[in-house]
Symmetry: C2
Subunit: 327 residues, 2 copies
Amino acid sequence: MDLMKEILERATIIDEYLMKYLEDGKPEKLIRAVRHYPEAGGKRLRPVLAMLVADAISGKEKESIPFGCCLEIIHNFTLIHDDVMDEDPMRRGRPAVHVLYDVPTAIIAGDAMFARGFEVLAEVEVAPEKTRRLLSLVAKTVWIIAEGQQMDIDFENSDSVTVDEYLEMIEKKTAILFACAAQGAAMIAEGSEEQEKDMFEYARLLGLGFQIWDDVLGITADEKKLGKPVGSDIRNGKRTLVILHALENADEEDKRIIFSTLGRENATNEEVAGIIEALERTGSIEFAKNKAMDYARRAKKCLESLPDSESKELLKDLVDYSVKRDL
Amino acid sequence: MDLMKEILERATIIDEYLMKYLEDGKPEKLIRAVRHYPEAGGKRLRPVLAMLVADAISGKEKESIPFGCCLEIIHNFTLIHDDVMDEDPMRRGRPAVHVLYDVPTAIIAGDAMFARGFEVLAEVEVAPEKTRRLLSLVAKTVWIIAEGQQMDIDFENSDSVTVDEYLEMIEKKTAILFACAAQGAAMIAEGSEEQEKDMFEYARLLGLGFQIWDDVLGITADEKKLGKPVGSDIRNGKRTLVILHALENADEEDKRIIFSTLGRENATNEEVAGIIEALERTGSIEFAKNKAMDYARRAKKCLESLPDSESKELLKDLVDYSVKRDL
């Protein structure tokens, strides 16, 4: 099976539902703002993950679609607000919502999507006594995402973020929504409590691996793959796992090299190459790679409770993809 | 019965639950931002309304408390985001969340409260098959509030808002959350479908009357009652029902008087007195008063399907209060 082809097929189904869920409402400007990011496309990883898990457990792929769309809508709401907060002008190659419209419209559009996400959640066909558990799962997840976003913002003004704090932040900001997708899908598919737990853990580890691999690629991938100049993460001063490990572990000389270049927008290519060498000497790139690999290994183990199926194989492939992709 | 005393008694109970619901979470800054407005107190009208309705239908006052808290949390989340959008520096005599902290923290705190509101909703004890309906009701309500807020913001840049558009806006921005409180409470109290409808309509009309009476008081009340100088709504150029009616109905001379003073921060007291006279001549203050009274009369009629009880009397008193209070 070709993982990308399988993802794309499911994403196409998701897209149809998704855009229908985002059709109604007034005023027109609000709806246009709400549809702006979803219209730009994307792999729809969270709903696809839900479909694969639900199918792997009991073949209830279709029943998981509204739930997946709920999470995709919530994911897009967080992107709108994140872009306002970070003052990012672009997203997926298009102007950010707050740039295309204005900050108030972006704040309201995010709030409106949040509401729509829960409205879609109310459409999920699940045993009545499970509705409250599912609602609680999603609501708690969004709270945790907010915690992660707050940590991320606080980190920008801090010089002493530890590796552990960073891991907590990306777990909350990114991995938890994957975990919610997988656990919720297990609930909908009437999986056992153990399966719910396994799927939560699988997707949490998958999300962590994904994010850390992104950090590595941001430093090591070439310009063609990155779609942005080599070293832009370094020039932007992004505190990724690689950088944080180095700041904790580098010797004085390498620390000097890192601090003298990190976050300097006009750093030369030689300086960027110099910092990458320092990161390699400190073993920080290796550390991050190994960390991601370790998460991937543990994620796969969580799949053992599932019966064999094509979807189970795809869930494994997804793990491989998360830490082998070159972007 | 003394309505204010009865409201206060219930608000005290609500406060205890509310602050417990807003206790947990990290980082500390986020939790402090989340608790900032609720800590400033307030009448807790939405949860009190839910308690009165639930009690009037079947004595299930206590069961309605988590639901009321959910709405109070959602109400406070909208206040945080509104203050960011309107750049209001103060709320309830305290600095706004975005002033005390910063805009990103205010956006996240609002999002986090939104999530917590739905988490509390998951705790509402209601027949399992009703959970989805209740979730759908609350989620749709928040979407409508977002529509109302978007209309409000769009109106600020428009010179041609009609009375009807204004009424639609306040219905969405304010009245709908009252309506949701009353209908949801009827659901929780196992009222009939007709009672649900009646309670929704009762509270919608109550909310409209409340808001319009506020508009009237903003123009006619004296400084002591208002807590701000007479005429500040006029000097701020606030487009209330009174003003919009006048702009549609005043003769040329009065229109000239209104336009020459409305929105001028340095307008003299004589000019403010002049505009009020023009509003009286046009019958605009009378129009708004009558409108509010009409809503109040219709709201009371919606209570007829309820059995007689103390809570029913209080629901009537609340209507009288909404259009008789001098602030």
